[in-house]
């Protein structure tokens, strides 16, 4: 189960990178960025997961050596990372809109005025 998660997150990251490198459309580039981000999020969650652990909600008095729960820090990190991913998508989409207005296309091979 855990191994499957690792494989899936690796697959998502590679798929995202593949999408960014191979697809010649700005929208697909943005989608690739998102997929890559999801892959990393899955990786973070998987790192903190303990099979059979409870939710990490304890006060200091309740905490015992035998209490078994999933690692809370990666979950906090994932939340942050999801927010950042949403910002990346929003920002890149707004840039795509402006680029479409200015260049009249979303083909990356047309949008290459700065080169050399």
């Amino acid at each position: 189960m855990i191994l499957l998660n690792y494989i899936a997150s690796f697959f998502l990251i590679v798929l995202g990178l593949y999408c960014i490198v191979v697809k010649y459309d700005l929208m697909k580039t943005v989608i690739g960025l998102s997929i890559m981000d999801y892959g990393v999020n899955l990786l973070i969650i998987t790192v903190g997961f303990n099979p059979g652990g409870t939710a990490p909600i304890y006060s200091f008095g309740e905490l015992r050596p035998e209490s078994f729960f999933v690692d809370p820090i990666p979950q906090a990190l994932t939340l942050t990372s999801i927010v950042i991913g949403a910002c990346v998508t929003a920002m890149s989409l707004s840039l795509v809109i402006k680029l479409k207005e200015m260049y009249g296309t979303t083909d990356t091979h047309e949008i290459r005025r700065l080169r050399g």
Binding site: L17, T29, V47, S81, M91, L95, R112, R113, L114
Partner: protein, 649 residues
Amino acid sequence: MNHYPILAIMAYFLCAFLIVVFGKNRAVRNILGFIGTAAPLCLLIMLAEPVLFNGAIISYWMGNRAPVGGYAIGIALEVDALGLFFGLLIATAVFVAMIYSFSYMSHDDNEPQYYTLFLMLCGGVMGLVLSGDLFNMFIMVEILTFAAVALTAFRNKVFGALEAAFKYLVVGCIGSTCILAGTIMLYAQAHTLNFAQLAAFLPGNLNTATIIAYALLFIGFCTKAFLVPFHPLAADAHGAAPAPVSVLISGVLTKSGLYGIIRLTYILFRTMGLGTVQFWLVFLGSVSMFLCVTMALAQHDFKRLLAFHSISQIGYVLTAAGLATALGVSSGLYHAMNHTLFKGLLFLCAGAVLHETGTTDLGKLGGLSKKMPVTTVLFLIGAFSISGIPPFNGFASKWLIYQATYQKAVESGNIGFLLVTVVCLVTSTLTLASFVKVTQSVFFGQLPKEYENVKEVPFGMRLGMGILAFLCIVTGLFPGLVQRFLTGPASNAVFHANSYIDAMMGFGYAEKFGLADTLPVSFESVGVWSPISWLCLLLIMLFAITIVALTSKRDRISAADKKAQAANAVSGPSFLDGAPAANKYELFFGGEESTYSQVGGDDLFWGFKHNWRHYFSFMHDLHSGIVNDYSLWAVVALALAMLYAMIIL
């Protein structure tokens, strides 16, 4: 005093948000911007006395959550001499850029948004260099990447601004994702995100996972420093962004990447003792240095040219830092400081030219020294500094870098480091050559008619440039003091990771992991080099050049060329479109052919560019401007870094 670092970071962010709320009025906005950049500078200068001079390390736990049982739980800020050195650099550059912005940006609309983003970027970088926590660092990386992308696209009607911003966003996000993935892989192994604890845990526990994390983090910080193969992004972004933002991107953002690399390799992983890692850094630095300076030679745009030079100078810093000697690190840090100063000055001068003439195209400009004398003088100071002309700061740091590479070659007996010295020297020469070209085509020569009414820039902009020029001269005149009070303590901190760990986690924590400060620190620098060896090197070079000159094919004018010459004599010279070699001086000695006789930037090194035309056209085709290509380079770099790390470490 412990609260100063967090106050410095907060001042940026607080003023950024206050400008959103109260920024409608120009006076309020400017005052908030001034306070927002001046206050952190003052706070950091007050920290200089304990941290840089007395060697204290300031640790600060947010919410006072100190470590429990040897495990760091809370978020931490940790300021050692290295962090403070970079912090001071950044605060200074940001302060000057802010003063400059008041005049420079006064004609743009949406000014409040500009200042907000500007301060967010500053806060992000400051948070990054003062942070003591890996995930915190990632958040700051994201903040500064976002702010930098938005600022690049700020003048979105400018040629290529949106395009540059999009490319930067895509590749920058690949880099940020690398940093995040590396962070989480380290967390999976060490179950902590605190630098000090990681630094104690990692050196003894290098396995496949941590090594891949190392490669991921390294590539992530390379993206932020725009090292090869990420240099096209810097060039695009600089060309489109407003001048003060170029200062931020080249002087401040790249420093955050360099800081990350130094922190990662020297303190977190302590892999600098390995020759392979040294080779990796020095190789990457040398390639960045040489490749970008040749790219700069072929540019037609003022700011784009400066951008390539910027990455070239970053290559110097990485090369010197990769030597893993005290002299190397301190000279690298010295050059990093000088890079911020002179590159900031040059970008501000380019901004001044753009502000007055409305163009940065080298082919259209000329003769501005008559109209803008102050800018010209300031630009010359910057140009002399970056080319390494003696009284200015570039000379001092480059000289130290030559010595450091040479000394490393002598110490390790590896002839490859001598080659690095030669690459450094050649790059410096090419830098000088390309600044001769810029100076000639922008400030000297004949003034085009449309710029007859150009005036000197306003006082605010001259003040900003003046401060940087003054600092360029001061740091060049007193290299001993700089070494003693700034770069010396910072490089000491680089080599004393144990005190970094102990300051954070309690005394004796590092010893429990059996870590020793292995690398010796000595600044036996100036005067170590032997003049006789240099003389021998010179003679060998001279001999080599003679052989090449004697054996190379002489330029004989072929029959076809003679015919073309005869044709030209009738129809007038046509040196613009692929002229035969015999005609190339027609431009200079063509008599009264044309009344307008400006020597264009492209014509100055005609022969050089002609002989290297295959290389230049190859490089031009390689930098295709397609975002897919640049992402492919990033992926390839990542794959290579991982492979190298796994094979070698």
